[in-house]
Symmetry: C2
Subunit: 203 residues, 2 copies
Amino acid sequence: MGRVSQAQAEENRRRVVDTASRLFREQGTHVSVADLMKAAGLTHGAFYKQFASKEALVDEVTAHVFDEIARRNAAGLERHDGQRDAAQRALIDAYLSVEHRDNAADGCPVAALAIDIARGPEGREARRTYAEGVADFAAFLAPAEAVADGGGVGGVGGGEGGEGGLARLCTLVGALVLSRATQGSPLSEEILAAAHAALTEAD
Amino acid sequence: MGRVSQAQAEENRRRVVDTASRLFREQGTHVSVADLMKAAGLTHGAFYKQFASKEALVDEVTAHVFDEIARRNAAGLERHDGQRDAAQRALIDAYLSVEHRDNAADGCPVAALAIDIARGPEGREARRTYAEGVADFAAFLAPAEAVADGGGVGGVGGGEGGEGGLARLCTLVGALVLSRATQGSPLSEEILAAAHAALTEAD
DNA sequence: TGTACATCAGTGAACGCGCGTTCACTGATGTAC
DNA sequence: TGTACATCAGTGAACGCGCGTTCACTGATGTAC
């Protein structure tokens, strides 16, 4: 196929990163370089003209995917005219939907990459990126009172999201992970409904 | 090494299952047969004298590990003289501890195996076992009111655990998974504390 | 604007390695007499 | 109770395969004149 224009090469690179960001969320970071490149419409040899190693790609994709989620949350806030409560409610509805459960490729990286990140080595760059993403997401979820007076409920606090946002994030992520693992059983939908009820009642 | 007594063979088999139940929770079900057998003190060839395939072992280990957790929960209830609230509180304390986070090998299989189960095929036996384990665990966690009048809060109900137990399980599992993935960052401990506060306040 | 040539993105075969699984072999165990 | 032999749990080398990575090669692109 010979050489390809610089513009084409950049587009190919972008397509590999995009494809990986979907495949990694859907199947985990263990998808093979060969499968990934085939899905991106290239042969596997080309991979090493663009990336130093598979680990480097995982790091880059992790950063890419968390950028995307941050942009999406910001856009959500804007769409609701800066109304924090309404934006949060919309996110919770979407997060705990059957569509989100069935579409990991487009879904939340916090839930999709948790295990792969946990099993990777501690010093890894992707791990830091992940922790930052968790903190940002929790901040977005923080309940109104906590945002208003800037403090946590129990005194641990200090984090950017406060306790309330972190606890809500745990419920969201746990529900998504469990509903995916029980897919095929009626339990799967019950889990989504139960978490939704817990997060939208009272508070 | 020649043949080994029937008693010895049975003990070896049990040791392989025990070792796998620890390694699978710690590193996932992708641990190799060779590594597993070495950890159990045998050579990898012996594996196929005891198990039909690696998949068969995964199924057996999943069942084994959920039996163990059910026994542990029952023992917890007994230790607290059947006082449901006290037993639940003790479980939540232990579940959200740093020790549990750092000791996946001995820890909750619902959290440790979630992704491996979710990525496996839908028809798999381990999947059914897993869903049952989730239902049992949720039933154990069901809030007192729900147990008393036998109904859920929002009307979905029908499940063995009711909504409250499922929602609590989501928070527990989400917190454990997230605290493991953020280990090394202060966020990791904050997550455990936030989930603990959310599960023990009010209700 | 047109020609000559170095560059380098993409190709596809090959590498060493670890995976799940198979198999001929060993020799203590368990059984038949 | 003692001897003869079939059984079979465990061994370790080997299988085909897919992994991450390397490399000689191709030929359109981009540049120098």
